[in-house]
């Protein structure tokens, strides 16, 4: 009965550019970044000054947790690290953190880069959905 957002083909299609290439927007008036992209600038309340912006695939690690009880559909990958990353432009995103072989080496504020991965797939017959995940840079 549960509708899983991530199974919705049209929704996933709508999000492709954001997930694949970190496409958001930048408001030339208030000099603010938006990710995911906004139809209207939240501050200026207009689309007039918005231009498409591709965020850099680098940032710093803020909080992280190791999820032992995985979200449905992620059980095969569990346990996995889940974190908040602040991109260079100051926008924050949540994502999985890969290749944590020694948690002791994770530090608040350390550099991470974003890589391209499969976010989820739906059995043998469903679609795969792709997007970004983070990797620590030691």
């Amino acid at each position: 009965m549960i509708i899983m957002t991530r199974k919705l083909v049209a929704e996933n299609w709508r999000l492709e550019k954001a997930r694949y290439a970190l496409v958001g927007n930048f408001c030339k008036k208030c000099l603010g970044y938006h990710f995911p992209k906004k139809q209207l600038c939240l501050r200026c309340k207009t689309s007039e000054h918005l231009e498409e912006y591709k965020f850099k695939h680098e940032g710093k690690l803020l909080e992280w947790t190791k999820i032992y009880d995985p979200a449905k559909g992620f059980d095969f990958a569990g346990p996995y690290y889940y974190c908040i990353v602040e991109l260079e432009e100051g926008i924050k995103i949540t994502t999985q953190l890969k290749y944590v072989t020694d948690e002791g080496r994770l530090k608040y504020g350390m550099k991470v880069k974003l890589v391209f991965r499969r976010l989820f797939s739906h059995g043998n017959e469903g679609l795969n959905t792709y997007g970004f995940k983070a990797v620590p840079v030691y």
Partner: protein, 361 residues
């Protein structure tokens, strides 16, 4: 499209990607009570690369393509969009596309931002699908239909558990952007040799490929590789001694060495391309990754031969001459060894999980 005369066609950007995980031949041999050291020696392979749980040929293609782009834009991000707007074709060659129907190439195009004014297709020709794509791109650039084109060879190869192929079936990808300006390596010519030789195949819905054992050698790999190489030499009126470096398809660590020997190519000219010993056979990527590693190490002016082999069967041979551009461009993205050396070992159990050999339902 202007119809100015094209002087040179060549590589304007190249990039590889190899997953971080490895399993040793020894570990696989233990599983099947086989003799690990003997197997490693026979195959001349010690470890093979294994994709992560969330990696497939699409993710590998995107990572390799991003590295190729980083070299193509010459370190100038502002050039990126201009280049992408002129990137008119993407071909992804693989025998392990995640979908039977739905192109991998479109995801690559969307992820690097080359869509929508471009053509794209996935190509399958066993282990030479990547170079077949390269030929398509070269043709389009040469005919001035497009300014830049991207060809990728990639695989997450599957070997049947316990089969000889399981020891070598690896994962990786290599991407090449072809164009006419700021060339890293100039194309001199290409030559293909193709027959219907069924040495290795996988039927629709079959989980693992089948192969014809020793038949994969002489009538298959060697005949096609040697014929294509010789044909290219003849076509370009070159001798094998004119080449400074070579990269052959690498189904194991012995075949390319034997092929080089039969062509009287000194081992030193082949050596730098032999990634197979550490990452296994990356199938459609194998000869291209070997070629990329040769580019990582090449000096300007050096001539490089690349000859792929795809079961079924065919070989595509190419001759490239490296330009001065290589010096400033090769460090704009990770080199092949950065990936080969950055590794984490897996047990057979974890390997089985990574390769989908554990059924959850």
């Amino acid at each position: 499209m202007s119809s100015k005369e094209i002087k040179d066609i060549g590589i304007v950007g190249y990039g590889v990607y190899i997953p971080k995980y490895r399993i040793s031949v020894d570990e696989i041999a233990k599983m099947w009570h086989d003799n690990g050291p003997m197997m490693a020696k026979t195959l001349n392979v010690t470890e093979k690369s294994v994709p992560d749980l969330d990696e497939d040929t699409i993710t590998i293609s995107v990572m390799a393509a991003r590295n190729a782009l980083a070299r193509a834009d010459r370190g100038d991000n502002t050039k990126n969009n201009e280049l992408l707007s002129k990137l008119g074709a993407i071909y992804v060659g693989s025998e392990s596309h995640p979908y039977a129907v739905k192109p991998s190439a479109v995801t690559v195009g969307e992820a690097i931002g080359a869509t929508p004014v471009m053509t794209a297709a996935d190509i399958e020709f066993a282990c030479k699908a990547g170079t077949a794509g390269l030929q398509n791109v070269i043709g389009l650039v040469k005919s001035q239909e497009i300014e830049y084109g991207l060809a990728i060879g990639t695989d997450c190869a599957q070997g049947r558990p316990g089969d000889q192929l399981e020891y070598t079936a690896g994962a990786g990808g290599a991407a090449f952007i072809m164009g006419t300006e700021n060339i890293i390596a100039k194309l001199e010519g290409m030559y293909s040799f193709t027959t219907d030789t069924p040495d290795f195949w996988r039927r629709e819905h079959a989980r693992y490929p089948s192969h014809a054992g020793r038949f994969t050698g002489q009538p298959s790999y060697f005949r096609h590789t040697l014929s294509a190489t010789k044909g290219l030499l003849e076509k370009l009126d070159l001798s094998i001694d004119d080449f400074d470096r070579v990269s052959f398809h690498q189904p194991n660590g012995r075949f390319p060495i034997a092929a080089a020997k039969r062509l009287s190519i000194p081992y030193e000219k082949l050596e730098d391309s032999l990634c197979v010993t550490k990452i296994g056979n990356t199938y459609s990527a194998a000869s291209m990754v070997g070629f990329a590693r040769q580019l990582d190490m090449a000096e300007p002016g050096e001539r490089i031969l690349i000859c792929s082999y795809g079961s079924g069967a065919g070989s595509d041979a190419f001759s490239f001459v490296v330009t001065e551009e290589i010096i400033s461009r090769r460090n704009l993205a990770p080199v092949t060894d950065d990936y080969i050396e950055d590794k984490a070992m897996l047990s057979y159990a974890h390997y089985a999980k990574h390769r989908g050999k554990i059924m959850m339902s």
